[in-house]
Subunit: 439 residues, 2 copies
């Protein structure tokens, strides 16, 4: 299971610059593994895990925290195929709960038709769900799609996008090869609904996973991180650690109009306050780095509308281009509410050229099924690796995330990956509580 890292073009193993306090977190996680797993079991009884989730983590050495939780994950093609059996097994458990007696699943993807990275992920998702024993077809929301469209992918796979039809309270696909109308039992959303809920999906009788209210037209990052903050508090108490070690601080601004410079003062004062709070923590832990924050669209995704800020004065110095960039998010939605989030350094690097690596963890139901590193050589440790125009190289995790080894050092690979899986599941638990609130 080691081939990915060893065969990586950068040649080297992952290294973590500052291992002190993280090793401390990992030591705690390892020592209390039975309590942690028992705690999670109890939590999943209270709040059902989402069908699938990906979580972007930041590993600063002294701090390991989630920075984004995606309920419509892409990037499945970046997961090591040796872990597909885990995904298959978890999908079977998850679908058992939703559609015990049916086998037709419809995936509704993003409307991208040229983004090969996205389409490869979609093809992988479809493939894994087919391995799990489902009949899986892809229904597109693209307006002018009149008939099934086959797209050949660089990997040699192909996907077929089909127009969705509405028949009363159900959505369906037309027959292909005379095999009859396709009526799904469940609709798996892989479209984050930034543009709102499409009319064709309104009030259908089929199960929609995750619920439509979790789309970015409804969801707010600040709600998620408020839930995460609560989860981190509870978990830190269980482990008897400082919650800050796993929780990024954040604040929320009311209405901001970047174009017309309204709300700028409010934003600047929040930035200033948050930087001060982070500095206090840095002083407490002897972190010799400047604190920074990220200003993000509260309803945003895809790394659009994100700024890295080191001082409140930068807010006043934004030029027109920067302000325009913040004023629009994915799908042309105006940014009004923003979240100011503690920036967490990425101190994991790969190879001699010290490429920055950011872990992304994938879960199906409440099982961790794999993940990958976003690896980028030309970005600094305080920059967002999931930003527009950004190019990263994916590096599949070579290790499973559920085989912690008490006979190895706390920061040995199996234990570090276990730590990733724990923190990612905490973010997923926050999302589960979000879902419970809206449905």
């Amino acid at each position: 299971m080691k081939q990915s890292i060893d065969n990586h073009p950068h040649g080297g193993h992952l290294t973590t610059a500052l291992t002190g306090p993280l090793q401390m977190i990992e030591t705690h996680l390892l020592a209390r593994q039975p309590q942690i797993e028992t705690w999670f079991r109890g939590e999943w009884k209270k709040s059902r895990a989402p069908f699938y989730t990906s979580v972007d983590l930041r590993n600063a050495g002294f701090k390991l925290a989630p920075v984004d939780t995606n309920l419509f994950p892409a990037g499945f093609n970046n997961i090591n195929p040796v872990f597909f059996p885990l995904a298959v097994q978890a999908i079977q458990v998850a679908v058992e709960r939703v559609c015990p007696f049916a086998c037709n699943i419809l995936i509704i993807p993003e409307n991208h038709t040229r983004n090969m990275f996205y389409l490869e992920s979609l093809a992988t998702l479809q493939q894994v769900m087919r391995h799990a024993g489902f009949v899986v077809r892809i229904g597109s929301l693209i307006d002018d799609l009149q008939q099934a469209e086959t797209i050949e992918l660089p990997s040699g796979k192909q996907i077929v996008l089909e127009p969705i039809k509405r028949d009363g309270e159900k959505i369906q696909l037309d027959s292909i090869n005379k095999d009859g109308i396709f009526t799904p039992c469940a609709v798996l959303m892989n479209n984050d609904l930034s543009a709102g809920i499409p009319k064709i999906l309104e009030n259908i009788s089929q199960s929609i996973i995750p619920p439509l209210k979790l789309g970015w037209d409804h969801r707010r990052k600040s709600d998620h991180f408020q839930h995460y903050h609560q989860v981190a508090e509870e978990f830190a108490q269980l482990l008897d650690i400082d919650p800050w070690l796993i929780d990024p601080l954040f604040e929320k601004c009311g209405e901001i109009d970047f174009k017309n410079r309204e709300g700028e003062e409010c934003l600047a004062s929040h930035v200033d306050h948050l930087l001060t709070e982070i500095q206090k923590k840095y002083d407490e832990y002897g972190v010799d780095k400047p604190p920074f924050v990220l200003v993000k669209a509260d309803a945003g995704t895809y790394g659009m509308g994100i700024m890295t800020i080191h001082s409140a004065s930068e807010i006043h110095e934004l030029n027109r281009k920067q302000r325009n960039k913040m004023a629009k998010s994915k799908g042309g939605v105006s940014v009004t509410d923003v979240i100011i989030q503690e920036g967490v350094y990425t101190f994991e690097t790969i190879g001699e050229d010290e490429a920055v690596a950011e872990p992304v963890v994938y879960m199906v139901d409440h099982s961790v099924i794999g993940g990958f590193y976003r690896v980028h050589t030309s970005r600094g440790p305080n920059e967002n690796l999931n930003a527009p125009g950004m190019h990263f190289e994916p590096l599949s995790f070579a290790n499973p995330l559920n085989l912690p080894d008490h006979n190895q050092e706390p920061d040995a690979d199996p234990n570090r990956f276990y730590a990733y899986g724990v923190i990612a599941r905490l973010a997923m638990l926050a999302a589960a509580r979000e879902i419970k609130e809206v449905i």
Copy 2:
């Protein structure tokens, strides 16, 4: 994932002598995979899968059938460690149902202290359950065990056997290293209870998995295969195939006293009848091999009390030694009831010397987590590979069993392993129905 077969000392790949009708079975399984998985989902809703199960299969090329279903599996050390994450994930799902809020598990093993094969399996089981986040200790039923006994294993692992104490309605282990009395939430039986239910386990309040009534003092092979027969009928109907292709015929005799030659006539006539039935099927499918049957203790296990018989006359010709051997089973229990089961040829061979290979499939909850081949060079294709004094070489499956590939031939490795997983799950379903009946 291919290393095991490729690195095998016999050097070659597995080959199947007669692939015709099996390829037909595999083609059917592959084509109806979504219906099969949906059917299983429905069945697991009706009958909960056992906590763990191993199934011995026989692959005759023209027929693929289970010949033994073990509810107290050993041999975990023979599973490819790359599949441990699958076992961990399945264990977490299974325990969630039994003990959502606790983490202490007690394993009660067989009383073997010198069978290193068994103890290595026990150590692996403990290790995998620890990965899954449980505090797992081993409580022994050995009568004269006064204090914890550590046994060093050839693999370098060690296991600690501890005496079980009873306190009111609970069983416990003493404190070690002053960590307090150990009170398990659940007791996982890895002892098949051939000698009956030990007094110390009677009426305890903790969950016992699987239920004590599934021990060999209560359980009958004929009950299992009667359930399997029903499962096979239903499944064959779903697939529109002849159920015989997946179902070993069997008959049951009443009381037999081998020592005093009572019931011999009855046995001989059943053997004769069954051989005739098998011959009819062989004629139908053009199988050019002599039929044979196995006479097994109906309550037996561990391959004791098993005879291979090719003609009814052999029953009358048993010598004293053979009769004595049949008269006693594991733990000195007298054999009275016997089952006469259709023998299924093993036509899977490995390497140039054509070593006979018999697949064993492992499941936790309703997930297939791996398996291995029993490989034996000096035995014939009609002999039982799990017999007393028998030496087999384990060969871990290199493939997962849940990644069937529609783009490959029906008898390509991923699809053959999928077929194994399906037939093994049918046997597990029969066991689930058995359990449902007794609890």
